[in-house]
């Protein structure tokens, strides 16, 4: 039982960045813009989040307040950075995959350049402890308290709050409906008076918002509040894309996909605790590969019937039929 508690407690902080970034990718792709630059957006958000933490960690504020402030800054950074993508993809009608790749290449270089110049290291190291030993009151609930309210981060609750908000925006508002229309048939959307360009900018900006926050939450939940230009976010942006495809571009399915991947990952890093896996006596590398291999297998089984937004990746041109 303790092992299960341990796995769940450690799985959630890893699942949340995946969940948020995949939701961001969903907003962008359902509006018609492929966002392969999520990896870069994440690292950009993480970098600014950690920079903020570094700047205000001596100011005497509580760790959770610092976290919220840094989260807002990383969200703004993510939005601003994602505008590079939406400018190229929407206004300049550039190839979206190429632009995203360029952004992915740009961020680690910028982070390394800045950190080496300012801190003479490969990244930013902060020393705020964001860890929550137990949530007062709620942690005394028998099973649930152990699972969800002990040894965790506040990022987990914020993450699921964002999931709820994103689902409502996506399905229950005019904005969500219009956004989805632009990803399916932009010409039809335009013909009924929806501004496709604005919607696509909004979709990408939302992915920047969620991607930036997701990146910062990665550095909180996985890297103990640090960020590093070399390892970056360890392919989480790409994994989030896989999560999004596995989740069929739908919020709730994305949540389950994110939990699945996070579970596999935490399993890989806690082999020693689980007697059954430990007795297999396999090289640890096999477990480290597990999330990636599982992604492949899952995609092989789900891609046949997967239906991507119809107009994604195609720049919208008013003159075309």
């Amino acid at each position: 039982m303790d092992t299960i508690y341990y796995l769940v407690q450690n799985m959630l902080p890893i699942a949340v960045p995946l969940l948020l970034v995949a939701l961001g990718g969903m907003f962008s792709e359902r509006s018609g813009v492929i966002n392969i630059g999520l990896e870069g957006i994440m690292l950009f958000g993480a970098f600014f989040g950690c920079l903020t933490v570094y700047g205000i960690q001596r100011s005497g504020m509580g760790p959770q307040t610092i976290l919220i402030i840094a989260m807002l800054i990383s969200a703004v950074a993510g939005i601003l950075f994602s505008m590079l993508l939406s400018f190229a993809a929407v206004n300049m009608k550039a190839d979206q995959t190429i632009t995203g790749t360029a952004l992915n290449m740009l961020v680690p270089a910028i982070v390394l350049l800045f950190s080496k110049m300012k801190f003479n290291s490969d990244g930013i190291t902060t020393d705020v402890n964001f860890y929550i030993q137990q949530v007062p009151g709620l942690s005394s609930i028998p099973v649930l308290g152990d699972l969800f309210f002990k040894k965790t981060y506040v990022t987990v609750y914020i993450g699921f709050l964002f999931l709820a908000i994103a689902t409502i925006i996506f399905y229950k508002t005019k904005f969500g409906l219009r956004l989805r229309a632009c990803g399916e048939h932009p010409q039809a959307a335009d013909s009924v008076g929806i501004n496709v360009y604005v919607m696509r900018h909004a979709g990408v900006a939302l992915s920047g918002f969620l991607g930036g926050i997701g990146g910062f939450f990665y550095s909180v939940g996985v890297m103990d509040g640090n960020t590093n230009g070399h390892t970056g976010v360890a392919g989480f942006g790409f994994l989030a894309l896989a999560v999004m495809i596995f989740g069929q571009w739908k919020p709730l399915k994305i949540m389950f996909a994110a939990l699945f991947f996070a579970f596999l990952r935490i399993l890989a890093y806690s082999v020693a605790l689980i007697p059954f896996l430990h007795n297999l006596n396999l090289n640890q590398t096999y477990f480290k590969m597990l999330p990636y291999v599982a992604t492949m297998i899952v995609l092989i089984f789900t891609s046949q019937k997967s239906r991507a937004p119809k107009a994604e990746g195609i720049p919208y041109d008013k003159g075309r039929r």
Binding site: A94, L103, K288, Y292, M296, S303
Partner: protein, 388 residues
């Protein structure tokens, strides 16, 4: 009078050349490069204003002092660039060149250490082994794309990680290849190393000649054979080419196979290169990092607009400013990451440089037209006055 009659013809010829596609992609690439360099210059000014101009000119021209090294470092990224560019022609984005490169590197290492072959044959076998390694790693995403409709971008990213972890594990588990006290691979036997071209103080070797030859062959295959035609047709319009009876599944798998072969060769060329220090060789450190040369290959392919001949030049260019960058960082204290920033900015702009280019051209043409119009209006007025 005669002058006037000749000049329009000449003008037509010039505009005919400048309007051709090759030239416009070339000028677009130049525009992107210029913007990237300007951005790099600004970063340098911000970082260290006092050295910025010397630093900038060294970055631009420093590579000429080490031409041998420029070609040496251009070889692997030329190969990964060909890999990415070739797949692009078919409409596939081979972001997995890194994984294929790493696989090729390992296969070449393995053949170099574990197989004993006579000098003169050994290095060729190692190169071929590297090619096979890359092919295998390109083949799997190809199969997944063709048979299961899995997005090749995701697959090949996953295979970058899987390949990197696998290779690092295989290297560390092999006592012949790996020296654990130095956390790197041992020196390759001399017979497995590619013959050097004999430039002093440089590792430039025979592989650059192989790489350029392969690029030329690829150009011919793409432009003069049925297979190349089918690939390009599929890249232009998947449905139309399928309707015309082209087997897109077979072509997808073949494309990824060949793209993998190129990237694998890049890995083999990188690890089998001779060293200027006698008795040593290139080594590989299994530190769980995705090979950067694969991603630089994407930059090379994009800058060369996926044309094999263009890729030769863009690989040499990128290698050139990278050499300049290392000189800058050692002489003037700038960080070498400036070059990575410059390259990324170049790629960003090259994504829409074509459009920017045509917009600028249109603006110039409009202005000229406006001028001519106002000129003709004036002359009309004069004539009218005369008539009156």
């Amino acid at each position: 009078m005669q002058n006037n009659q000749v000049s329009p013809k000449f003008k037509d010829k010039i505009t005919g050349i400048t309007k051709s596609k090759a030239i416009s992609t070339f000028t677009a690439a130049l525009l992107a490069i210029a913007l990237g360099l300007i951005f790099g210059f600004i970063v340098m000014i911000v970082a260290k204003p006092e050295n910025s101009w010397y630093g900038f000119t060294t970055m631009l021209f420093g590579g000429f002092r080490r031409l041998g090294d420029v070609f040496y470092y251009a070889t692997p990224i030329l190969m990964t660039g060909l890999s990415v560019g070739f797949a692009f022609k078919m409409g596939l984005f081979n972001i997995g060149a890194s994984g294929q490169y790493t696989m090729g590197l390992f296969f070449a290492l393995y053949a170099g250490f574990m197989w004993e072959l006579p000098t003169g044959i050994h290095w060729i076998v190692c190169i071929l082994a590297g090619m096979v390694g890359g092919m295998i790693w390109g083949f799997i995403p190809g199969i997944c794309k063709a048979l299961f409709n899995v997005n090749e971008v995701i697959t090949s990213i996953m295979f970058n990680y899987i390949g990197m972890y696998l290779v690092d594990m295989w290297v560390q588990d092999n006592a012949t290849i790996y020296i654990s006290s130095k956390t790197r691979t041992a020196y390759l036997p001399a017979s497995a190393q590619i013959p050097s071209l004999g430039v002093t103080n440089s590792n430039v070797n025979f592989s650059i000649i192989i790489a350029i030859t392969l690029a030329v062959i690829l150009y011919i295959v793409l432009n003069k054979t049925t297979f190349g035609y089918e690939l390009r047709a599929t890249g232009f319009n998947k449905h139309a080419s399928k309707y015309a009876g082209m087997n897109d599944k077979r072509n997808t798998i073949l494309t990824m196979l060949i793209a993998g072969a190129f990237a694998g060769l890049g890995g083999a060329f990188a690890i089998l290169a001779p060293s200027t220090i006698a008795g040593s060789s290139m080594t590989y450190e299994p530190i769980n990092v995705i090979a950067a040369n694969g991603f630089n290959g994407i930059a090379v392919a994009l800058l060369g607009s996926s044309n094999p001949i263009g890729i030769i030049f863009s690989a040499i260019f990128i290698s050139h400013i990278q050499r300049g960058g290392t000189i800058v960082s050692s002489l003037f204290g700038y960080k070498p990451e400036i070059i990575d920033v410059v390259i990324a900015v170049i790629i960003y702009f090259s994504a829409f440089a074509m459009l920017m280019n045509s917009n600028i051209a249109r603006m110039v043409r409009k202005r000229r037209l406006a001028k001519e119009e106002s000129g003709s209006v004036n002359s009309n007025r004069k004539q009218n006055r005369k008539g009156a």
